[in-house]
């Protein structure tokens, strides 16, 4: 009854959740990922902001599931999927499958202005996080040694584009760094005079939360010295700063947290995509016309709820979908009845702003301030993988909270 070969592409929240259940039920699984580690993306901004080290939020896939006898791991990027002959191909290997789970996640989009990327990096990978860290802390050093007051001001101006959770977390952390962590460390500059500007095109930040929580988040950001500009569209980004209509804001550190786009591989699968490039999937999360090919997480468009809204790109969605398709595959292998459709259980949403500051909503309950922040800490520690990583992150956070220090602020030179 055991399936011949189940291939999972992507070891993120979705792929890993699926793999764990399939392995437990003794199916043969091949996990393909272009990285050798699972990354706990929700804390990546803390690597960028010098609170944590990469190894504390990443876990080697082989150490996680690779020792199971029914698990193979292949390092590589999938560049081709053949739906009919049923195989996937990486740069180096061709792997046949009986069932396929695509869980490749999403990427950033610059809305057609890809030339902005070198000046305004996004935050999806560890190298991007350490690059942002390098730019932020180098900006203070440049300001410190700069005699020209205008240039110094540009070095002390930090612009975050995009008012979703990542943008809010980055802007809040920058506010915390300049308010608490480093203001005593310089002679010529006062880090408290740094300008932090959060730019959002829509009418409020954290648009997926309630209006009240958007307001609270705005208030908490302002308390940390962050200027929030709503209904504001960036018209150009270059090495000198950001243009907003007539206004030009000189800045040497611009961070991009605005547009999310689905993985480019979606286009090669030959079925319908939505505007954001996500693949429409069946009620069992399979590709239309291909029952054995499942698409989950950020890659998939699945409508749910009374208003049939597409599910957002959140870790709980990917995890629930991963577990669901694993169960479907297992039930099929055992010739059991299948469920009607994937049912999403809303796990709420949260975003942290700074020490003692966060917003959270869960089943109609709204929280902000210290209580929301504590909930945020507990939830993130709980979902982090690996006992040692949990212990280290708890300790790093306690240390940072008590000492007001951020000790991972290394400016690692580029080779």
């Amino acid at each position: 009854m055991t399936q011949k070969n189940i291939v999972i592409v992507g070891g993120g929240f979705g792929g890993l959740s699926a793999a764990r259940i399939l392995l437990r039920k003794n199916h043969k699984v091949t996990l393909i990922d272009q990285r050798n580690y699972h990354l706990f993306q929700p804390l990546l901004y803390q690597v960028a902001m010098a609170g944590l080290s990469p190894a504390e939020i990443a876990y080697p896939l082989r150490a996680l599931i690779g020792r199971k006898k029914n698990c193979k791991i292949l390092l590589g990027k999938v560049i081709e999927v053949n739906k009919f002959e049923k195989w996937v191909r990486t740069e180096t290997n061709k792997v046949p499958f009986d069932s396929l789970i695509m869980a490749c996640g999403s990427t950033y989009t610059y809305f057609g202005s890809d030339q902005w990327e070198p000046f305004a990096p996004g935050l999806k990978t560890i190298p991007q996080a350490t690059e942002i860290r390098r730019r932020v802390f180098l900006a203070f050093e440049k300001a410190e040694r700069e005699a020209d007051l205008k240039k110094r001001e540009a070095n002390l101006t930090f612009i975050v584009i995009g008012g979703g959770p990542t943008g809010v977390e980055l802007a809040g952390s920058l506010g915390e760094i300049t308010s608490f962590n480093i203001y005593k460390d310089f002679d010529h500059i006062n880090a408290k005079q740094a300008k932090i500007i959060l730019i959002e095109a829509g009418s409020r930040i954290l648009p997926s939360m309630t209006e009240k929580l958007s307001e609270e988040a705005m208030k908490e950001l302002r308390e940390l010295g962050v200027e929030v500009r709503l209904n504001t569209r960036v018209s150009d980004i270059n090495a000198e700063g950001v243009r907003i209509g007539e206004e030009f804001i000189p800045s040497s550190t611009i961070l991009w947290a605005a547009g999310v786009a689905a993985n480019p591989i979606n286009k090669s699968l030959g079925t319908e995509l939505d505007k954001q490039g996500r693949l429409f999937v069946s009620r069992l999360l399979s590709l239309p016309g291909h029952d054995d090919i499942y698409v989950i997480g950020d890659q998939a468009r699945y409508e749910w709820g009374p208003e049939k809204t597409p599910l957002p790109g959140l870790a709980p969605v990917a995890m629930q979908q991963g577990r669901f398709v694993a169960q479907v595959i297992d039930l099929k292998a055992r010739n059991k009845n299948l469920p009607d459709e994937f049912k999403y259980v809303d796990k709420g949403q949260m975003a942290t702003i700074g020490r003692g500051r966060a917003v959270a909503m869960y089943k109609g309950i709204e929280m902000h301030g210290f209580l929301a922040w504590m909930s945020w800490l507990v939830v993130h520690i709980y979902y982090l993988i690996g006992f040692k990583n949990r212990l280290f992150v708890i300790f790093q956070w306690a240390w940072m909270y008590l000492t007001f220090r951020r000790e991972a602020r290394l400016i690692i030179e580029k080779e």
Copy 2:
């Protein structure tokens, strides 16, 4: 009485030791470094071997001493020293000095074959350490997905060139990784079959230690599966492997731990250099003819002991010299009598090979095995800077010892 302006170039062991004493004695100090952190170099090989994270062995200079009112820190690389007008220049700033301490350390040399560097990186910086980590763990992944047996063997062949402490520590760690840490993690390869070859041009490894300890180290390396080749000179290194006379050893991972050369800035100072490019210094560690310019650590050639041998490039030498020149500068400022000469107190030497395996010598006492290893652990924790770093490193080591895991083995992609 306080000195006007003391400039220290380099925040390594020597420069930092000098800075701490001068700051305590209320002198004005400007510390210039091209990095914003002090790096605990003796543990850098553990970052390369996935035992530790960079932030655990590096400490931001500003957090360390930058908050003292009499301390300025300037991020930059010194590209010019004017001995007569008494200033140094970085790419961005010109800094006048009354006294100057040069503590810029050393670099690797490929003995005129710089074209080898891309194929055999050295281990002096954090980017080099993470690059070595990437190559080592990628080699196992490549071997795993390789069908061609010859290519697989090349991917599982690791060559370390240079039998000094760094070379021994790298080769020993590789032996440990393949013997204990990851052999269960792969399906197609047996990591225990990996070949690790340590190549030394001289007649024994660890030549600065006693012959008996060299023998012990050889034995311990062999127990970890390392093949040691003495009296062996590399004649070429390329992308395919290493040539030794007639023999060619195919290998995809080659590490360089052979030749150390002084900082290139030495040549610009216009005084005599020894063969290794180090500056000859006076008995007070100053540059001949320039009493207010001191040169310490790996940059200086200072002869000592009954046989007048030049002091080796070790952390204790740099630290003692840093403290010594700080005292000389302070005594001069207070018009006190100066000491006759710098007196080195031998702190012994040690090198670790693997779990429970090390060699150490201290004042005629020789140790090897578990006891030497415990001493090595204690000494390195003691000298590591920062309470949090100490705690984290102790915990990482205990975890690694008990679980046989190395969890920092992330293959971080290049941007």
